[in-house]
């Protein structure tokens, strides 16, 4: 299961659990606090909530993500967190045993993918290994049997460039971009979307990085072009 090991072991002080299943959040909370000795554990039910929290608590060491929450583009979400909080370990804990999901998470920069079906003992071991610097993947990853299930962007009717763009921006960032193009201020965008201003700033800086620009005017120019090609 080990595919790489970083040099240093990290002590985890502050963590965030992002899962829409309350039962599982409680289970993960207990594992993190009792078995891994993590002192600060916060919970979010959605990616939006996670971003709201992370912009306020930048010292978060560990982010545990479920997959497939509503309004979440997995790859973009993981990428965003990795880009914006480079010191945090990002772990996906999911019930999906789809190889593509695993590969997609790793490609986006996750430090590990743990399958929920491995039970509480397995979860503890996996999280420990990840905190020690191991990149953890499930044992089904090398099974090629299901590789025929790979869904390519072409299969779902997208050309490669659009698909690429859509996969790199979260739905929330697309909304922020749309309002930016319409000329709204950060405060206006925040009000419109029901977010905090710090969350809007966070999404904007992610967009700046994505477009390789340094200010909102340039981002709006790039964004206008992108949105013009967006079928939505």
């Amino acid at each position: 299961m080990l595919i790489d090991r970083k040099s240093s072991q990290r002590g985890i002080a502050s963590s965030l659990i992002v899962d829409d299943d309350e039962y599982f959040r409680i289970a993960l909370r207990n594992i993190l606090s009792v078995r891994l000795g993590v002192s600060t554990i916060n919970e979010a039910e959605s990616f939006d909530e996670a971003i709201e929290y992370l912009t306020k608590a930048e010292d978060t060491d560990l982010v545990v993500f479920d997959l497939g929450m509503q309004g979440m583009n997995t790859r973009a979400a993981i990428r965003t967190v990795r880009d914006s909080f480079p010191n945090a370990l990002v772990v996906v804990v999911s019930a999906s045993c789809n190889r593509q999901d695993v590969l997609c998470c790793l490609e986006a920069g996750a430090h590990g993918y743990v399958h929920k079906g491995i039970g509480p003992g397995g979860l503890t071991s996996a999280l420990n290994l990840i905190c020690e610097g191991t990149v953890f993947v499930p044992s089904f990853l090398p099974e090629l049997e299901s590789s025929e299930d790979v869904v390519t962007p072409q299969d779902v009717g997208l050309n490669e460039r659009d698909a690429d763009v859509l996969q790199r921006i979260t739905p929330r960032q697309t909304e922020v971009l749309r309002l930016l193009v319409e000329g709204l201020s950060n405060k206006g965008i925040a009000r419109e979307l029901g977010l905090s201003e710090s969350a809007v700033k966070f999404h904007l800086s992610a967009l700046f990085r994505h477009f390789g620009v340094s200010n909102r005017v340039e981002a709006a120019t790039q964004g206008a072009k992108l949105l013009a090609t967006d079928p939505d």
Binding site: Y23, R35, A95, S96, C97, K116, G117, I118, G119, G121
Partner: protein
């Protein structure tokens, strides 16, 4: 290859099918029907034993009688004679001793007079119903307040089960039931093993083959019995009924299967978790649902084990 409904009709004996009428038990047990069903379920591990002795005038056609369990004394409480006759015949055929009561009042009188190992309790009866009788027996002063009481009911809706559980019912047998199912439940609750003194693993034969005791112990130690009970109840009343139902309905709700992967896995039901994970991939990939039969088999075994686990958790609270 997709299965046809007849291949997995066996779910009927697990309390997932409800039938409001007590009279629905009538005629539920023709022996020919039973033996056909048994041969259609090769995964049931039975040791068929030919009847050899005893008062078996009515049981000539019984060939799958189970004698791999100790004979016990059962008090059957049921107001309808036809139902009483069927129950009596099944139990005596399996070597058990049976006394009959026609209502809760008679049951309490008989319980004072004789020794019993278990009570089969109808719910709706004249004079005194099953819930009231159970509450009286469960009173701390009653000398037999710890006797297993199995409710026989056509209503297994979650709120009804909760109500029965609150009254002190040990387990629920849904009507109509099958002979093998009834006998298995009786064996489950009369096998010597003091409830509450041991974790479920103490009786491994009661747990599904792919149950991982270490996982469950770890879960229990992390979460405590209250949370464990919540997970068990969710699995039992919200998630498993969908898997034990029709395949067509389940295909529409892959999120149920997804949910079971995580919850069953955390509780140690690895066989069910792994099977649901494969089934989910088949559903999402629009492939043939080859896994469905395995998933149902695993779900049935887990479903059978859950009432006992619930009892254990209640005892630990």
């Amino acid at each position: 290859m997709p299965l046809t409904p007849t291949d997995w009709g066996a779910a009927a004996d697990l309390g997932v099918r409800t039938n409001g009428s007590d009279a629905s038990l009538r005629g539920a047990e023709p022996d020919t029907h039973e033996s056909r069903q048994m041969t259609a379920r090769p995964f049931e591990r039975h040791a068929p034993v030919k009847a050899t002795s005893g008062d078996r005038s009515a049981d000539a056609a019984d060939v799958d009688m189970r004698l791999d369990h100790p004979a016990v004394r059962v008090l059957s409480v049921e107001d309808l004679n036809d139902n009483q006759e069927i129950i009596t015949r099944i139990l005596r055929g399996a070597g058990h001793r049976v006394d009959c009561a026609a209502n809760g009042n008679e049951a309490i009188t008989l319980l004072d007079l004789n020794e019993y190992d278990l009570i089969l309790m109808d719910i709706q009866m004249p004079v005194m119903g099953g819930i009231e009788a159970t509450q009286l027996i469960r009173h701390a002063d009653h000398p037999r307040h710890d006797i297993p009481i199995l409710a026989m009911t056509g209503n297994t809706q979650p709120d009804r089960v909760e109500q029965l559980s609150a009254a002190g019912i040990t387990d629920v047998i849904s009507k109509p039931f099958r002979k093998a199912y009834l006998l298995k439940k009786i064996a489950l609750w009369t096998t010597p093993d003091d409830v509450g003194t041991a974790l479920p693993a103490a009786r491994e034969d009661m747990m599904p083959p792919n149950f991982n005791q270490d996982d469950f112990d770890e879960f229990l130690s992390l979460m405590g019995p209250d949370t464990a009970l919540r997970w068990i109840n969710t699995l039992h009343t919200q998630l498993l009924p969908s898997v034990l139902g029709a395949m067509d309905d389940l295909i529409e709700r892959p999120e149920i299967v997804h949910d079971i992967v995580a919850k069953a896995g955390m509780l140690g039901f690895r066989g069910l978790s792994a099977s649901c994970a494969r089934l989910e991939q088949q559903i999402l990939g629009n492939r043939a649902l080859d896994e469905f039969a395995t998933t149902q088999r695993e779900a049935r075994r887990v479903n059978d084990a859950l009432p006992r686990m619930r009892q254990m958790m209640n005892a630990l609270r």
